[in-house]
């Protein structure tokens, strides 16, 4: 059972070893002569204000809407895959059920579209 995953484990081990070695070796090979200017965040020459932490700053709300809509449709896609593989056995019933599901989602998609939820000013 687990032997099925051996090829993947081998490839993953090669990948991890390659990336890990590259990062580790290069951190030894390169010189290290830091100075304050080098260690400052790059802002096209403007000296960054040390008081502001970028990570707490605000985002346009559009990105949150995109993320939420993504989850809705991605869950739909997840439902689609098992259905896609077994559709030949499910026949018309399976097709009908999924058609209703997709059309319901399309309807809410249309609502979001008309509400302007997908406009990117």
């Amino acid at each position: 059972m687990l032997a099925e995953y051996l090829p993947l484990a081998v490839l993953a081990a090669i990948a991890v070893a390659f990336v890990g070695l590259s990062l580790a070796v290069s951190s030894r090979l390169g010189p290290s002569r830091p100075n304050p200017a080098k260690r400052a965040a790059y802002e096209s020459g403007i000296i960054p204000d040390p008081a502001t932490d970028v990570r707490g700053s605000r985002f346009p709300v559009k990105f949150y809407i995109v993320a939420m809509l993504f989850i809705i449709f991605d869950v739909e896609a997840v439902f689609l895959y098992p259905w896609a593989v077994t559709l030949r056995d499910l026949g018309w019933y399976g097709f009908g059920v999924m058609a209703v599901f997709i059309i319901l989602l399309l309807e809410s998609y249309y609502y979001v579209l008309r509400k302007g939820g997908l406009e990117w000013d």
Binding site: E4, L6, P7, L8, V10, L11, A12, I14, A15, V16, F18, V19, S22, L23, V25, S26, S27, L29, G30, S32, P34, K38, R39, A40, A41, Y42, E43, P48, P50, V54, R55, S57, F59, F63, V66, A67, L69, F70, D74, A77, L80, Y81, A84, V85, L87, R88, G91, W92, G94, F95, M98, A99, I102, L105, L106, L113, L118, E119, W120, D121
Partner: protein, 398 residues
């Protein structure tokens, strides 16, 4: 499972790894050469024949560079992001068959690292994980450009992932399986015979809309021009990897170009028959030819990726989101439904019913066509073109 099997597994995995790594190095060189030719320049031609070793030299140089990181990074995540990006890119191609099956000392060897029954789902899963590398890199750098670039890239990637998933779902319905080897085998059945040449039933013919969607989304997912918004250097310097240098930057670069190869390979596997092709000649040639076909097919797509970069200007961000959400997503959903309908119609309905359904459909379509003029809204007669408003500021007289 004995030692020989394990050795074969190692060899096949190492073979795929080497193929993809060498391919990436060649792609970076090839891109610079082809772009240069398109812009009537020469491109890198100094190191090795035709400058082939340029990528090796650049990679080696990056390893000896000073590793500069800003003061206020989140150290653990900052180190983890390139690691995640590169590792994910290096395991994505595990399910892609890159050659044929042949005998080595009485054992069957298939040039495919891993062939699980969830097959192509692995590609989708890994390409979703790739978003983490980008977003974490942007977030952990503690700098404005990477943060904006990271958020922007993640929004782009997840938007196009939807359409990509839907286009793949249509292919899965048509093929009836997720397993890569099965999908390739399905496409080897001749569609029709043209004299001595059998035209293979490649999925690109019946699944053309799915292929178009998948191609566009894979350009967006790999962040290649014209969808390379994450690296809009005029606005974001270098996007999410602005604060990375040395080998860490090299890892992002490697991941990006390796993903281009992987997505080209996925297109070849799903739509263009994978490593299949006419086999002839002695045994060793028959074992080698599928890999040659695979590399040739992938090479064509790689050239198209470079061609796009040489030809098209970068898209505006709102246009990009519009294309993903308003065109590709509904088109993908529609195509999934249409494919499902066609497949069920073919498998669980007899000929007579198909004809009756087709007849009823044609009748309804004809009726609608005839009734359409009656249903159409009459244009209002009282509308007149609005007069141009008098300008409120002085204008030069003509």
């Amino acid at each position: 499972m004995d030692l020989v099997d394990v050795a074969i597994t190692f060899a096949v995995a190492l073979g795929a790894f080497a193929l993809w790594l060498v391919g990436t190095a060649l792609l970076i060189w090839g891109e610079r050469r082809v772009i240069a030719l398109m812009q009537t320049r020469v491109g890198p031609n100094r190191l090795g024949p035709f400058g082939l070793l340029q990528t090796v030299a650049d990679g080696a140089k990056l390893f000896f560079k000073e590793d500069i990181a800003p003061r206020n990074i989140d150290r653990f995540v900052y180190l983890g992001a390139p690691f995640v990006s590169a590792t994910v890119a290096l395991v994505t191609f595990a399910v892609i068959p890159y050659g044929g099956t042949f005998q080595v000392s009485g054992r069957e060897v298939t040039l495919q690292v891993w062939d699980p029954n969830i097959g192509m789902l692995w590609i989708l899963a890994m390409s979703s994980l790739g978003v983490y590398g980008i977003f974490l890199a942007g977030w952990s750098s503690g700098s404005k450009y990477p943060l904006l670039g990271g958020v922007r890239s993640s929004a782009q990637l997840i938007s196009y992932e939807l359409a990509m998933g839907l286009s793949l779902a249509a292919v899965f319905i048509y093929a009836g399986t997720l397993q890569a080897s099965q999908i390739v085998a399905n496409q080897q059945i001749p569609l029709f015979e043209l004299g001595p040449i059998a035209v293979p039933a490649w999925h690109v013919v019946p699944m053309l809309p799915a292929f178009v969607i998948f191609f566009l989304t894979s350009v967006a997912e790999t962040q290649r021009p014209p969808f390379d918004l994450p690296e809009a250097e005029g606005e974001l310097v270098a996007g999410f990897h602005t604060e990375y240098s040395g080998a860490k930057f090299a890892m992002f670069f490697l991941a990006e170009f390796m993903n281009v190869i992987t997505f080209s390979a996925v297109m070849v596997t799903l739509f263009f028959g994978g490593p299949s092709g006419p086999l002839f000649g002695p045994g060793w040639l028959q074992a080698l030819l599928p890999t040659v076909y695979f590399i040739a097919k992938v090479g064509i797509f790689l050239f198209v990726f470079i061609w796009l970069r040489g030809t098209l200007p970068r898209m505006r961000y709102d246009r990009l989101m519009d294309l993903g959400w308003k065109v590709l997503l509904p088109l993908g959903l529609f195509w999934v439904l249409a494919t499902g309908f066609a497949v069920v119609l073919r498998t669980s309905t007899d000929q007579g019913t198909v004809l009756r359904i087709a007849g009823v459909g044609a009748g309804v379509a004809l009726l609608l066509y005839l009734a359409a003029p009656l249903l159409a809204r009459r244009p209002r007669r009282d509308t007149q073109p609005e007069p141009e408003p008098e300008p409120k500021f002085p204008t030069p007289s003509r």
